[in-house]
């Protein structure tokens, strides 16, 4: 069994933003030399997500609006107890749960085994600092 590990680093300039990281993940799969196996891609931070959906700017805008409705940014300690610790990012911990921590993608014949529109996104909910994603590939 082969295994491969790579960290991808990001520093997004907005509090909330989505970035298509499919090319970087595909590069990891290529570097791994794995032909048949699985690829785990997960946020290493707990105020960020990795998810798969459509690379359509209108949809990504809709997600931002929707997540803001479901878990509004509010730095005050009244709405979120977490912000009593001096943090202001409790909303980001909630948004991340909706969008998910990780995806697992099949690798078939050396490539990400995707449907027609699947793209991997890094979802940032507390940006403006360096954060990272883990790519782990196993198989043979």
């Amino acid at each position: 069994m082969k295994s491969y590990r790579q960290e991808l680093w990001f520093n997004l300039p907005a509090r909330m933003e989505f970035l298509n990281i499919t090319p970087q993940v595909a590069e990891c799969v290529k570097s791994s030399g794995v032909r048949e196996g699985m690829c785990l891609v997960n946020a290493m931070h707990i105020t960020a997500s990795v998810f798969i959906n459509d690379d359509e700017p209108g949809l990504l805008n809709d997600y931002k609006k929707w997540l803001e409705e479901l878990a509004p940014f509010d730095p005050s300690p009244e709405r979120y107890h977490h912000n009593r610790t001096g943090e202001d990012n409790a909303d980001a911990h909630h948004k991340r749960q909706i969008m998910g921590r990780e995806v697992v993608v099949a690798i078939t014949e050396g490539k990400l085994d995707f449907g027609p529109w699947e793209q991997i996104f890094y979802g940032e909910f507390d940006g403006r600092r360096k954060k990272r994603v883990l790519v782990k590939v196993i198989g043979e």
Copy 2:
């Protein structure tokens, strides 16, 4: 290490519907010959989900009502920017994020390693056309 790949195709007659696909996935595990490993089951479309929960008709009805409250169907371009592209399925992209893209199930002694009530569902949020699920098994 063994690996196995199978696509399951569906064409559900409603916009939103849930289908228990546990028998088909169990058949894939059997065909794979894997005794110890992992089974990934994921929607290959971005307006559909694969999730695990209870096969109880009342609950599935509850999920439909709840998802419609969280992300209502609205083909107009006002609520969802995504629908400015000519699509009418922005709500489906949101519902899918709540219910998830994929499940990973352990395989033990050649079988899906399940608790007493776990069943695998295909969740369709933009149906009335052919769509598919990927089953990938690795192990030995």
Copy 3:
């Protein structure tokens, strides 16, 4: 390829509660002897979750309040059809979908490959009885 399987049992005294199970999962990884691979941790019950986030009491309190808003406990059969079966836990089936069934964690050099604040939680939404989590490790 090596594989390892362990069930973790819990009996939480509240209807809704979160428990940090990282030490038990880390012990499973150690026992597995796997140096490079993947670790699946999933709830075996459909009214419970396994998820990764921050071990901060204020945040866990925020999650409880938020989940109660998104899917309120209501034993009556009016809100949830599922409760017409005699059950009172339909809300728990909804909360579990928000927080997720499972996590997959990379194993690198014999350890859970985590970012700085990642901790694995068991999320109970219908407690006061014995329930279990499955840990499955594959790799070599």
